[in-house]
């Protein structure tokens, strides 16, 4: 979003990253607002992990740039303010939990041992347990303890809840939300579990084929879209009402005589349409399913609203 009053945690301009001949990200421009929870969504291979690696300085952009609170990713300043929990939660399996926290303390000047220990204790994990013997849920908890011990201003979570059972998922997400409530941490979280993101995020960034397809405040995006159902118009080839701007259509299906369409903007006038404001999950699914027609690029930054 382009709200100038909200400070920016991440800012990308013309950002691209190529691996040999394949562009993982191409010509991306977006901002991630500070103090908010941003969901990073997209199909596998859309560039989500590449984006995380660029934001932490583990990869460098091929084109354009990405800044973290105005600093270059990987610089001392950016590193001190950022914590990244990678998909595979890399911890040393032969370390004990206590060793792992000590390691975090030695690598970070601004380490909060009490906070890290509190998170571990709340999960009833003994400090002398070896990482390799922890359950998935316990390992996630320790990884989060290390991430929060850093006292980051920006927390990047790449699929943190994959492989966790539903109870542990809620527990882990609860931990993250607690940290946000206490410290106002900016969070970017990628996940395929759209229904779980709905109650969690303020902002959404949808990547597809290495490009930004949707970027904005969740409520505003939902209110900017409408889904309507009614009788298909027999006089038009696509069943959509004649007056409707086809450029605003995200998705439309005709089943028999019935038309269901998902558009950015307002529904056609007339009382024969059943209209609904979509939920975030419905919105994301519509964009994930829809073809990448060039007219839909107006979806960026609310330009079409």
């Amino acid at each position: 979003m382009t709200d100038p009053t909200v400070p920016t945690a991440l800012r990308a301009t013309g950002l691209g990253r190529r691996f040999r001949s394949r562009w993982a990200l191409r010509d991306c421009a977006f901002t991630v607002p500070a103090g908010k929870i941003t969901a990073l969504v997209g199909p596998n291979g859309a560039g989500k992990s590449t984006l995380f690696h660029l934001a932490t300085g583990l990869l460098h952009p091929t084109t354009g740039e990405l800044s973290v609170f105005g600093a270059t990713p990987g610089s001392d300043e950016a590193r001190a303010r950022t914590a990244f929990l990678a998909q595979d939660k890399p911890l040393y399996p032969r370390f004990t939990v206590g060793d792992t926290l000590r390691f975090g303390r030695e690598l970070n000047d601004d380490w909060d041992q009490a906070a890290a220990e509190r998170i571990v204790r709340a999960g009833d994990i003994p400090f002398d347990t070896r990482i390799g013997t922890l359950s998935q849920g316990q390992a996630t908890r320790v990884a989060l303890a290390v991430a929060f011990g850093k006292r980051p201003e920006l927390l990047l979570l790449d699929e943190p809840l994959a492989d966790l059972d539903p109870l542990v998922r809620i527990e882990a997400m609860g931990l993250v939300m607690e940290e946000v409530a206490e410290r106002g941490t900016t969070v970017v979280i990628s996940s395929h579990i759209l229904s779980e993101l709905e109650s969690v995020c303020d902002h959404v960034l949808l990547l597809k084929h290495g490009g930004v397809r949707l970027d904005g405040d969740v409520q505003r995006l939902c209110e900017d879209h409408v889904r309507f159902t009614g009788l298909a118009d027999a006089s038009t080839g696509d069943g959509l009402p004649a007056g409707l701007d086809r450029g605003t259509v995200v998705e439309a299906t005709v089943t028999g005589r019935q038309l269901t369409a998902f558009v950015r903007g307002t529904a056609p006038t007339g009382d024969h349409w059943i209209t609904e404001t979509p939920s975030l999950e419905e919105l994301l699914l519509a964009y994930l399913r829809s073809d990448d027609r060039p007219t839909e690029d107006t979806g960026r930054d609310g330009a079409a609203a």
Partner: protein
């Protein structure tokens, strides 16, 4: 104290679910004036939702005069919603029981009765939302359910602040 639960499939905005649950607890007497609501941190640790959502719900309850934030102490219940007229042994309830029995005897299914009651409730309690004028051209189609209408108003007000 009150424990919240979130139904992620209900389609009702999360903050409204919290508002409803507090109102419900006030009606049932599970919450009474002077009781403290859980802090945002306590709520999000338990149900894993965005802390802003809790704050939004509490602001809404404050706007309705039901709760009051006390700096440094938390959010406290101001007034109760329990009403003798809606109690288990009230005459109104007895009349409702008779009415539902008549509807059933007339061959209506549960859903028919619900739809009928809801239509009457909508007619009786309908209040034009204050910010409707701000939205361009009201959405065509059937009258939006109250849920959807309420869902819009406080959010758009909030974004302006």
């Amino acid at each position: 104290m009150i424990a919240f639960r979130i139904d992620r499939r209900s389609g009702v905005a999360t903050y409204l679910q919290l508002v409803h649950q507090v109102r419900q607890a006030l009606r049932l007497g599970a919450l009474e004036p002077g009781d403290r609501l859980p802090t945002a941190r306590e709520v999000v640790a338990a149900v894993a939702i965005n802390p802003n959502t809790v704050l939004r719900a509490y602001r809404e309850l404050e706007r309705e005069g039901l709760v009051e934030p006390r700096p440094g102490q938390g959010t406290f219940v101001q007034r109760s919603l329990s009403r003798a007229a809606a109690g288990a042994d009230s005459p109104l309830r007895a009349e409702a029981v008779v009415w539902v029995a008549r509807a059933r005897a007339a061959g209506l299914e549960r859903e028919d009765v619900e739809a009928l009651a809801e239509a009457v409730l909508d007619e009786t309690f309908y209040v034009a939302p204050a910010d409707r004028a701000a939205t361009p051209a009201p959405a065509p189609g059937p009258t939006p359910s109250p849920e959807r209408v309420v869902r819009r108003s406080p959010q758009s007000m909030e974004e302006d602040t």
